[in-house]
């Protein structure tokens, strides 16, 4: 009888531990921002141009660009990759006046790359990145940027 009770207790404990660990790892997964990737209907150059237009249509600006493919050509690597830093002065002013450390996530970074002949656009959802800030204003900007980027991606994938 004693032995049976011991076995039952052990099984119960293991079940609790397993459930707890799974839940913990799931919550960790939820906290880690996952990049969103959208396949473009255009070629690489076309996608780069489309992003510039879509940014403008979304009342945003390309604040800076990194032609990563061209930069890496200096190392002998041939790759099509281009990063955009997107934002606008109004969004920047709101975010920085609320929390000057917002520069870590603003402007938002969008990356275009080519793989196996297909062009993809990838970015971290701004609301995921901005969620670690205590400022409500910064969080709100993150949500607003989600919408802008979503609209941009729809333009690119259509």
């Amino acid at each position: 009888m004693k032995s049976r009770n011991f076995k039952l207790t052990a099984i119960l404990l293991m079940a609790i531990l397993f459930t707890g660990l799974t839940g913990f790892s799931n919550s960790l997964k939820a906290q880690t921002p996952q990049p969103l990737t959208v396949e473009s209907s255009r070629d690489f150059e076309g996608t780069v141009d489309a992003i510039k237009k879509a940014v403008s249509n979304g009342d945003m600006m390309v604040l800076s660009e990194l032609n990563q493919g061209q930069i890496l050509s200096m190392t002998g690597l041939q790759v099509n990759a281009h990063s955009f830093f997107i934002g606008n002065p109004s969004v920047g002013k709101k975010a920085f006046s609320s929390d000057p450390s917002a520069g870590l996530v603003i402007p938002v970074r969008v990356n275009v790359y080519e793989k196996n002949g297909e062009t993809y656009v990838t970015y971290f959802k701004p609301s995921d990145l901005f969620s670690s800030y205590n400022s409500k204003k910064v969080k709100m900007i993150g949500k607003k940027m989600d919408g802008v980027l979503k609209m941009m991606m729809q333009n690119i994938s259509n």
Binding site: L66, N67, Q70, S73, M74, T75, G76
Partner: protein, 235 residues
């Protein structure tokens, strides 16, 4: 005696101006200032200064000094062709982490984010060749008609100084490029390229100077202090 002192002053000014260009890239890589602003403030004025010195020494009829600067400049340019051949082969065979003149070009024109362009490549190559010319002038003035092995040693020392400076550490390959690939590819390519630079520099200088005996800096110093008994046309 006074003439010798003027010549010595001109030699020292030439050395100072020639020493500027090779130091700018390591200074920029050390984070002191942007290469683009250093080029405007120091590189262009120093290059103009050297060209002016050639005309000044010529106007003053300091033939040997004019020849030393000109020969050094030309020999340095030719020697850089030799160095570039080895460097380019090294890069294309994957034994160099990057294309140095292209990197210098984007830094010179402050367009790293956009990558290299035709004009940035031109600027990068021009800077690399001017560096070679500057090293040629320094060698010609300091060592003049030295033995060829001195030029080879000179080339090796330039290579070593390059490999221990911020120019390599900022590339992420460590001192002597030991963290690049198996640790020896960069070291061998750079050393070989600078040995070729030294050989071609020494050989070209000798060819240009032919049988002329050009005074090295130590002799000029001695002449300025002790007074020269030599004829002006010789020195």
């Amino acid at each position: 005696m006074r003439q010798e002192k003027i010549k010595l002053v001109l030699v020292l000014i030439t050395l100072l101006l020639a020493g500027i260009s090779p130091n700018l890239y390591p200074i920029a890589q050390a984070g002191v200032a942007k290469l683009s602003s250093l080029a405007v403030k120091f590189l262009i004025p120093s290059a103009v200064g050297i060209i002016l010195l050639i005309f000044i020494t010529r106007a003053l009829k300091y033939k040997s000094l004019t020849k030393q600067i000109l020969f050094g400049l030309l020999a340095g340019l030719v020697a850089t062709v030799g160095l570039e051949i080895i460097r380019e082969i090294g890069f294309r065979t994957g034994n160099m982490p990057g294309d140095m003149p292209k990197l210098i070009g984007v830094l010179l024109l402050d367009r790293f984010a956009h990558g290299p362009s035709f004009w940035s490549n031109v600027a990068g190559w021009a800077y690399h060749f001017w560096n070679g010319a500057a090293f040629g002038i320094i060698f010609s003035i300091v060592f003049a008609n030295a033995q060829k092995w001195v030029a080879v040693l000179y080339g090796i020392i330039i290579g070593i100084v390059f490999m221990i400076g911020p120019a390599t550490t900022t590339l992420g390959i460590g001192i002597f490029g030991l963290e690049f690939k198996d640790g020896y590819q960069f070291l061998i390519t750079v050393t070989l390229a600078h040995i070729v630079f030294g050989i071609v520099l020494g050989w070209t200088l000798r060819k240009l100077a032919k049988n002329e005996e050009l005074p090295n800096i130590f002799r000029r110093l001695k002449n300025a202090i002790m007074g020269s008994k030599r004829n002006e046309s010789v020195n």
